[in-house]
């Protein structure tokens, strides 16, 4: 970074830039900050079908944390964090590491692993719904081949349905993790490999103790992206199970949409949205500050 004084044009010549940014400021303050504050405000009002100005304190939050549907949704989000995020990172890492072993057809394989990223959540949900159909899907076919105990009807049963959603998510998200981790792998200094080989460290230990710690930043990026994906997960569940059977695959993002637009429960929905907002801010804001501090340090070091 060059010092500010010589990069910044004189103030008075800056007016076109200033004016051009006005609509962007309006969007940022109105659409992003303003609507978030309004949502937060609504969560304390007695709003049902239409917004109201009667303040009711934390009533909606109390109802929210009592609501079985919301609690199921939060538990499901937790399950997805463990299964989907960890699953994607694991499979993504294995794929990245495998692709990095000087194999043939690397480009073709990479294309195949990544193409689900170009597919929408709705399409992913519909396809996996079809594959997990107990009568006509994979289960029936494999049972027909003589594997009688084979079960792949996860989304038919409340206890297993969320894992079906996780599997569909894994199919779509593993490629993303792979590509980010592969970029991380390729950024590692080749001499580290050399050194490990000279020292005679076994391959798996080289990965676990040397390579993976070097990839911290890539792992953190992938994990953050995947986690943010879960908080947003809405269309995947709508298309695949519509929250069912019962409410076993309910997720917070879907709970909010349902209460906003189908159940006329704006107060409850905005309370849920506020919980998500606070969750995201709690994760992202500290990262922001750490990053800013690091950058400042790096600039000083120059």
């Amino acid at each position: 970074m060059t010092p500010r004084s010589d990069t910044r044009p004189p103030r008075f010549r800056n007016w076109p830039a200033f004016i051009s940014l006005t609509p962007v400021w309006l969007t940022a303050l109105g659409l992003f900050v303003g609507t978030a504050i309004y949502t937060f405000y609504l969560s304390f009002t007695n709003s049902r079908t239409m917004p109201s100005t009667d303040l009711v304190g934390f009533e909606h939050y109390v109802r929210l944390f009592d609501a079985r549907r919301w609690n199921t949704a939060m538990v499901n989000m937790g399950i997805l964090c463990v299964t989907y995020v960890v699953g994607c990172l694991l499979l993504g890492f294995l794929l990245a590491a495998a692709l990095d072993r000087k194999i043939r057809f690397e480009n073709t394989l990479r294309t195949l692993f990544l193409y689900p990223q170009a597919v929408s959540f709705v399409v992913t949900g519909l396809v996996w719904q079809w594959l997990m159909n107990p009568n006509l899907g994979i289960q029936n076919t494999l049972q027909g081949w003589g594997w009688d105990s084979f079960r792949f009807d996860w989304i038919e049963h409340p206890e297993t349905a969320i894992y079906g959603v996780a599997l569909a998510g894994l199919w779509q998200g593993a490629g993303l993790a792979m590509i980010i981790l592969l970029a991380g792998l390729r950024g590692i200094d080749g001499s580290l490999w050399q050194a490990a080989r000279v020292e005679g460290i076994p391959l798996w230990r080289t990965y676990v103790s040397i390579i993976i710690p070097e990839m911290r930043a890539a792992v953190a990026t992938a994990a953050t992206l995947l986690f943010m994906g879960i908080i947003r997960t809405y269309d995947l569940v709508v298309a695949m199970t519509n929250g069912g059977p019962g409410s076993s695959t309910e997720l917070p993002a879907k709970f909010i949409m349902d209460n906003l637009f189908n159940r006329q429960n704006i107060g409850l929905a905005t309370a849920g949205a506020s919980v998500l907002l606070i969750t995201v801010l709690a994760v992202v804001v500290p990262i922001f500050f750490v990053r800013a501090a690091q950058q400042k340090k790096a600039r000083k070091g120059h």
């Binding site: 060059t2 076109p16 830039a17 051009s20 940014l21 962007v24 940022a28 303050l29 109105g30 659409l31 992003f32 900050v33 978030a36 949502t39 609504l42 499979l91 495998a98 072993r101 000087k102 194999i103 990479r110 294309t111 195949l112 692993f113 990544l114 193409y115 689900p116 990223q117 170009a118 597919v119 929408s120 709705v122 399409v123 519909l126 396809v127 079809w130 594959l131 006509l136 027909g144 199919w171 970029a183 792998l185 390729r186 590692i188 490999w193 990026t221 943010m228 809405y234 709508v238 519509n242 993002a253 949409m257 929905a269 949205a273 506020s274 907002l277 995201v280 992202v284 922001f288 990053r291």
Partner: protein, 298 residues
Amino acid sequence: MATATFNPEATGRKPGGIELGRVGLYLFLILTAAFFVLPLYVMVVTSFKEMDEIRDGQIFLLPQTLHIDAWRAAWSTDCGLETCSGISQGFWNSVKITVPATVISVLIGAFVGYILSFWKPKGANVLFGIIVLAGFIPLQVFVYPTVRIIAFFDLYGTLSAVILVHVLFSLPLTVLLFRNYYAAVPHDLFQAARIDGAGFIRIFFSLMLPMAIPMLVVAGLLQFNAIWNDFLLGMVFAGRDNQPMMVQLNNIVNVTFGEVQYNVNMAATLLTAAVPLLAYFVSGRWFVRGITAGAVKG
């Protein structure tokens, strides 16, 4: 360059001839490739079968003969909630939404990125911080008040409304991409243009915009896919007449009367996925660059 590009050379150890580990490695890659390809394969074969054949329950078998009836039905006669005109109407709606929204959002992203990187008017960093932060927050937080705002301007359920919300809500991504891209452009270039007397607009259109063509392609691809694949904004803002393909697909497939026509459903699903998939397979490396560029934030 702000985009992380791949080192073309694999950095892993060189293989030492044919060994057991190598075989295992390829076995693993082939099995996972099968896992990724399988859903697409099943969709394609199912869409060409007749219902009798589907009821036999051999999901992996190739169709005995290629029937294209399901494709025809999916495109033009299949029934959704109210109408029976297949998915073609949604297709054209999606085109009408995606093309302008992509072009406008990418150009705005480039322009704002240019201003934030080179002109840095007062408060530019704060503005950039707000925008990036907003990119992390789920739409559920913004969506209801936004409906009120759009309704206030009497735009609710119109084509302009969907395009507008797509453009505005994609600001975080597009601004981030271009701001980072321009951050790597040498500042001297900008200073030289100014010394030559080029103004605010001229520097953008004759210098910075042409210079960002790679990023225009990358951002355009990402945006095109994201907007085409969107469900939430289309469902909430488009209204019945402008329903994009993704919303229509979900209605057609998940609202069925009588026997589920799996072949038609799969054909409709493939038709909906076809455009972004085509873009992906044709653009290849550009798409990958987009994902890594979007991922490496800040």
